[in-house]
């Protein structure tokens, strides 16, 4: 039985320049990378949250850190990671419910996730950081 399965002819595509990760795959790996990055930066984010709430002095240092251009770019990146993780996560919950599991809708919903998460990042980023 096992041997028969191995001998079965399967389509092969080893033309490397033509192989690329489809959009739902790109969405998936960014979902993982964004989750890992948000986890790694948790101490920084908790520290920011703490300074913003504790006292006048810590609030001033919070403002000082957030006013730094480099920090603003990092925070904008983290907002995008959060929004991507959020939107892609909602897409996964719908997939769990067997909504949109055919190829066409899976690609379409991936496009929607990228569009919505980037739009939300710009809106929230501008509102909070500038």
């Amino acid at each position: 039985m096992a041997e028969m399965a191995i001998k079965k002819k399967r389509p092969k595509n080893l033309d490397l320049p033509t192989i690329r990760l489809p959009l739902p795959g790109i969405l998936s790996i960014i979902h993982r990378i964004s989750g890992a990055a948000l986890f790694l930066l948790l101490p920084f984010l908790l520290w920011l949250f703490e300074s913003s709430l504790t006292s006048a002095q810590t609030f001033a240092s919070f403002k000082g850190v957030v006013d730094n251009a480099l920090v603003k770019i990092i925070l904008l990146g983290l907002i995008w990671f959060y929004m991507h993780h959020f939107c892609a996560g909602i897409r996964y919950l719908l997939l769990d419910l067997h909504k949109g599991i055919d190829l066409k809708s899976a690609v379409l919903s991936s496009k929607i996730v990228f569009g919505v998460s980037i739009a939300l990042t710009l809106i929230v980023g501008v509102k909070v950081l500038w």
């Binding site: 993982r32 890992a36 986890f39 101490p43 913003s52 709430l53 504790t54 769990d96 909070v128």
Partner: protein, 115 residues
Amino acid sequence: MVNRILVGAHYGLKDWIIQRATAIIMAVYTVIFLVVIGSVGPDSLETWRGVFAGGFMRFATFLFFISLFYHAWIGIRDIWMDYIKPDGIRLLLMIATATVLVGYAGWAIRILWRT
């Protein structure tokens, strides 16, 4: 005869459900949080503290943090299980992850209840 299957699906069902339940809690909180900062941003210490001083927001934020840390535990543990093959290193990384997350939970509670 005991017919217990030791490998395969359904041993991770509890975590699978918790990962999704915590995701839904965080998604709802995210919407609430975005609505709140739409009107009150961290512009002055007094108003910003006021946001989290109310019973509802403090409890909701607490629930968000606890969901976040449990959700992060499942996700990061999955990453270690996918990429780290030596058992010893994997176990060490899992313990380190769980330890920092429990620490973060204590930290988050202190932030919220000192405000």
